[in-house]
């Protein structure tokens, strides 16, 4: 099965069809998707601002990351679930839309970066990590997640 065939299969799925035929399902799911974006933005920024030496700088990075983690993972799951539904309803459009691929690439990199390199830096909690390196990690994280959000918004523009 080629990739395009798979996308066509998604588009023709019962779920995608139901969403397409409803006047309000797509807007509703999209709005929840947007709320998830706002929430993940907050959870990511609490940690990234701290890594940048801004925000809650008197408190340990590791502690803040532990506090923010459930919200970050929770909203990520919410976004993947709602995003999947949105995708099913317009898979073919996504296939031909550059913004969709940009977003997926950013999302992949953001997830990998967050759960590998960034997690390592956070766990070290300043020990053996230069402040400059922490800042670079935070900026990369913000850039990748911004790519996900803006790429996603751009899928809606034709």
């Amino acid at each position: 099965m080629s990739l395009l065939a798979f996308f066509q299969w998604c588009e023709q799925s019962g779920i995608g069809d139901t969403i397409r035929k409803s006047a309000w399902l797509f807007p509703l799911i999209e709005a929840i998707h947007l709320l998830g974006l706002g929430l993940i933005g907050g959870a990511v920024l609490v940690v990234d601002l701290r890594l940048l030496g801004l925000g809650l700088r008197r408190y340990s990075v590791a502690q803040l990351a532990r506090d923010a983690q459930p919200w970050m993972i929770g909203s990520l799951l919410l976004m993947i679930a709602t995003g999947g539904l949105l995708f099913l309803s317009e898979a073919i459009k996504c296939y031909y839309h550059g913004a969709f691929w940009f977003k997926m690439a950013s999302l992949f990199l953001a997830i990998v970066f967050t759960f590998t390199l960034q997690r390592k830096v956070i766990k070290a909690d300043g020990a053996g990590v230069s402040p400059r390196w922490s800042k670079v990690v935070a900026l990369v994280s913000v850039a990748l997640w911004s790519g996900v959000g803006i790429g996603g918004r751009w899928i809606g523009f034709s």
Partner: protein
């Protein structure tokens, strides 16, 4: 939640917006007497229920000279002089407004900035509200979270207001009569009042409940209210793009026409 002087700024801004919406007694109604002329700007918007207005705009921009000339032909006298409606009509007819909504990338870029700043503002404001509800960062004093994070929400809010005003100026007439836009402005006012009540009330005694204890009920209520209001503001903001209740889609229920200040012509009943 925003503290101190920025809170005042927020309230002034929101009050100003709400004043713009509610003040005019002279002519609140949109009189679509000549739908072919007056409502033309609304007609630029896709009537596809799930499609976004942008789809049609982009399509139209290819015929921009035509669209621009049509807009200039509109009859400004149709809206009562001195009314808000006439004001937004003139705004819609301005080259700034038509230029913005017909541009290939400017509108998209501003919209993206608006969404990006939403993460900064809404995300951090909600994290602060979660702290008030004792759901996160329990080891960090509330006052510390307020001092370190709320300035960032102010930055986010300012970007939201500026980009939002630009988006409004691109489509002023339709936005003004959009039910979700009106709901959003009212809820912004309520959110501002909530911020003011919190900071002038229970937050003044923050030293007594800063850490090691659950915030008092008043603080938890403020946090919960803030979350509910901002969630509804984001939802209604997203819904402004859909034209289910637009003036040019008649017949609508009388309550909808009342809330959007629409007066359909006889032929539209």
């Amino acid at each position: 939640m925003i503290q101190g002087r920025p809170a005042g700024l927020l309230i002034v801004l929101v009050l100003g917006l709400c004043f713009l919406l509610t003040a005019p007694r002279a002519a609140p109604a949109y009189i679509a007497q000549k739908p072919n002329e007056l409502a033309r700007q609304v007609h630029l918007i896709s009537s596809d229920a799930t499609g976004e207005k942008w789809t049609r705009f982009t399509h139209l921009s290819k015929a921009a000279p035509l669209a621009a000339s049509l807009l200039q032909d509109e009859n400004p006298a149709a809206a009562p002089q001195g009314s808000l409606l006439a004001f937004f009509q003139r705004m819609a007819d301005s080259s700034w407004s038509t230029g913005l909504h017909e541009s290939r990338y400017a509108y998209d870029l501003i919209e993206s900035v608006h969404v990006w700043a939403l993460c900064l503002f809404f995300g951090l404001a909600v994290m602060f509200d979660f702290r008030l509800l004792n759901w996160t960062m329990r080891s960090v004093p509330v006052s510390e979270v307020a001092r370190r994070l709320l300035p960032w929400t102010v930055v986010g809010f300012v970007i939201m207001v500026i980009s939002g005003a630009l988006l409004f100026s691109a489509i002023p007439l339709r936005s003004y009569q959009n039910i979700f836009f009106r709901a959003k402005m009212i809820m912004l006012l309520l959110a501002g009042v909530n911020v003011w009540i919190f900071h002038s009330g229970v937050y003044r005694r923050v030293a007594t409940w800063d850490v090691k204890t659950a915030p008092p009920k008043a603080a938890r209520v403020a946090g919960a209210l803030s979350i509910v209001l901002w969630v509804c503001i984001v939802l209604s903001g997203r819904m402004i793009a859909y034209n289910w209740f637009d003036c040019d889609r008649q017949p609508q229920r009388p309550i909808i026409n009342f809330l959007t200040s629409c007066v359909p012509t006889a032929s539209e009943h």
